[in-house]
Amino acid sequence: MSEFLETTHDKFVFRVKTGLYYSRDDFWVEIQGDQAVMGVSDFLQKVRGDVAFLETMPMATEIRPGEEAGTIETIKATYGIIAPVTGKIIEINPEMESSPYLINQDPYGTGWIYRIQLHDRVRDQAELLNAESYMALMQEKIVQEMGNK
C-alpha cells in the first residue's frame, strides 16, 4: 500500500497519509501504544495557508476531543487546534516555536504538534476515521472550500 492517498483539485494535490487516524476536524493522530502524536492534515494546512504563529497549550494540559488545544494563525485566518483524543500533553514539538512553517512544509512529519498520553485509546480510536474514510470526507470538504475556484 502506498504511503499516501491523493486527490487533485485544479493544480492542488491533497494527501492523506495511510496508517494514521483522522478527526472530522482535520487533525491526524498516530497511535503508538498508549500514546499518540498529532498534527494538522495536509488539507487543513493547504486551505488555511502559511502558518505565521502557533500558540500551544502548556505541558501536562489535559485535552478532550472537540476542545481547543491551542491556535494556529495564518495570514488568512486564526484557527483552533482541535483535540482529536482524550489525554495529557506530554511533549510539544520543540521546532514549533521557531519554525511553525513546518506545519506547511511537512504536515505529517516534522510538522507534528503534540505527543499525548492517551486515557482511553480504544474509545478514541473508535471515534476517529481511518485514511480511506477521511479521504472521502476530505473530498467533500475540498468541494465546499474550494468550490469552482
Binding site: A52, F53, I75, Y101, N104
Partner: protein, 138 residues
Amino acid sequence: MKKPTGKVVVIPCSGIGKVYGALARETAYELAERVRPDTILLTCLPLVVVGDEQAKQLVTENPVITIDGCPMKCAHKSVESHGIEVAQSYQSISFYVAHKDLKPEGVTELDETGRKLAAVAADELAAVVDSLAGKEPK
C-alpha cells in the same frame, strides 16, 4: 564571499498567488526605489533562471539578496542552482512575524498596512545592504 562592488542585487520570489509574494516584491521595490536607490539593482527571477546573459552577469558580479514569499524558497533555490552564491536570504513571512501589528492583505497589490510593513522591512534590511555593498551605514 564576493568582494563588495558598491551594488547589491535584490531578487524577490515573483509569486502571484499569495500575499507574502506581494510583500516580498514590495519590500524589494522599497529597497530599490526609496531606501537604497543608489545601491540596489533589481532583476527578475525568471530572467536569471532562463540564463539571460545580462541578468546572469549581474548576479555573478554583485552580492545577491533573495526575498521569498513561501517556504518553497524558489528565489533562493533557483539562484543557488545556477551556482550563484546568495549573500542573504529572507522569507517575507518573517517580516510579519517580527511586526505582528502590521498584518498585510492583498495578493496583487498590498493594502496600506502591507505597504507599511514592506517599508519597515526595507528599512531594517538597509544595514545588511550597506554591509554587503561595502558602504558605511547611513
